[in-house]
Point group: C2
Chain length 328, copies 2
């Protein structure tokens, strides 16, 4: 199977490295970072390219853009892992539309296009007979989309509850464990590299809400949007609130919930029993699916990281390889 890889940040480098390392029957025939691109029908030399990137060099030719690769390279599946723009979804959405219109499969980790345009992109993919896979958009290495699709096939999903933002979970874990204030815990998260200089996107629950939108639309196809999520962040939580919860054998976590029967679509800090499966520590992510047959199934794993996210992308690529490309 031939793939084109657009985006060479942490996730893109992780994916490229794993494709080079593992014998998956996958060849990268086109690759681009934000400044340059490279097309090689015989297969890009990944180790050499990663070494070049590490030294601050260009990925390829500055006259070849990401859009050129998407439009012109010979590949079966596009791997789109450029940075997320949650408002416009660009330039990722353009790349994805363009690949689908060329009847190429698409695998993306990009929350922008999927949270904004899932229904449109899904329909276009179906019309063109190709797969659109986005396991990596939600909860990093946790194979939530595969579980919804295959593992729990035949089940009706009645509700979902998730800890979908590692930054918030780290801050809350530290506040509870050490009695820190929100500001102290945020400072620590920044020092550890878990929080951005501007943490708004994480601590106000926007990131978790975007993931909730993706999950809800995937499961129920109900066309919900970010502004339909009832959202409260963790930035106003006091150390006292956490202490009171702990006194009762509980703790506080930022929980994303979708419960269609109650018309609930919400991200908010919730008091939750310490033994509840969703109470995970540090930057872990967790998801509970409430179903009609399997009842509650909880999945826990790493929500971020280069190789962890590569795991989700490679799972999607193998799905396409085994169900589409090998049969063609």
């Amino acid at each position: 199977m031939k793939v084109a890889l657009i985006g060479l940040g942490s996730v893109g480098r992780g994916v490229a490295g794993m494709i080079a390392k593992k014998d998956l029957g996958i060849t990268i025939t086109g690759i681009a970072d934000s400044r340059s691109g490279l097309i090689d029908g015989g297969g890009v030399d990944i180790p050499a390219l990663l070494a070049r990137k590490k030294e601050g060099g260009f990925c390829g030719d500055q006259t070849i853009s990401s859009a050129d690769i998407v439009k012109k390279a010979d590949y079966d599946a596009l791997i789109e892992v450029t940075p997320t723009d949650a408002l416009s979804g660009e330039p990722a959405t353009g790349y994805i539309r363009s690949a689908i219109s060329r009847k190429k499969h698409v695998v993306t980790s990009n929350k922008g296009p999927i949270s904004l345009f899932l229904n449109e992109l899904r329909m276009a993919a179906r019309k063109n007979g190709v797969a659109l896979r986005y396991e990596a958009t939600v909860a990093g290495a946790i194979p939530i989309m595969h579980t919804l699709e295959d593992g729990l096939a035949g089940n009706e999903i009645l509700a979902l509850y998730g800890v979908l933002n590692g930054t918030c979970n780290f801050i809350l874990t530290r506040m509870a464990a050490e009695g820190l204030t929100y500001e102290q815990a945020l400072m620590e998260a920044r020092e550890m590299g878990y929080a951005e200089a501007d943490p708004t996107y994480d601590v106000q629950g926007i990131d978790a809400a975007i993931k909730l939108v993706i999950l809800a639309n995937t499961i129920w196809g109900n066309g919900v949007k970010l502004d339909g999520v009832d959202r409260t962040g963790i930035d106003l939580l006091t150390a006292d609130a956490l202490r009171l919860a702990e006194d009762e054998g509980c703790t506080i976590r930022l929980i994303a919930e979708a419960i269609p029967r109650k018309k609930i679509l919400r991200v908010s800090p919730r008091i939750i029993g310490k033994n509840h499966p969703l109470v995970v520590d540090g930057t872990l992510n967790a998801l509970t699916l409430e179903t009609d047959m399997a009842r509650e199934i909880t999945l826990i794993g790493r929500g971020a990281g280069s190789v962890e996210t590569a795991s989700a992308i490679i799972g999607d690529l193998l799905y396409i390889r085994d169900r589409y490309v090998q049969r063609a």
Copy 2:
């Protein structure tokens, strides 16, 4: 897709009920309990049959046996859910061999044949171009086999750790929570219907070890057997031991572990941090997979129950329907 269902205990009735209730494109053309059988190429009337069974009546004709159904009925997939005989694997193994030799797919919840003869049955299935699925043999509703196969595709599984016996987990949870002795907690488990009159199979770790054998052979194909599992039960655990663990912020769980790089294949009570994802309460099951890319992924869910186990079986049936029968 046409299926034959052998076994009408709690699991069999759960499966039949769900096939009748849900629109899955599955028709039961043959069905048998331990005393009688029924063949109906047009589709067995499931609600009528379940009502008959509820009143203590026969499933069908006493002159038609399970073996007759397996050998003569017209079906695409056999659903084998008779009681487990962990020593001989019979009569289930005979039914499964017979169905595979007729080029029929097989779905089973039976730990006997799968823990004893997985490699042989797998090879026979491959030779005959049919699927052998057994999601329900380990951890009830948790889609562990699907996760290994699809969700974590491309990952190398380095080790696994599991809480695979709900009876033991219930007893340990109650000992820790209420300071009960093993005998008191066992009594409570019996009253709740979670423990058999003779609890040996559960409390001495045999059931967990059998599941560990199934998982290890599935993942690494290394032909391990039950007598290769280093096994210690929970029946000699004292309330003091649990109290000491709790004093250190830990607890004790019966953990099944397979770590090939250390040559460990073991079921034993382990001291484990209370915040560890594997520490689940009551009769829940939990499994952690250690992988090279996704790192640790934990799955938590119900390890038993009629409808919960039906979820696993129906997941397997839909796998076969979508990948084999619909394409044929």
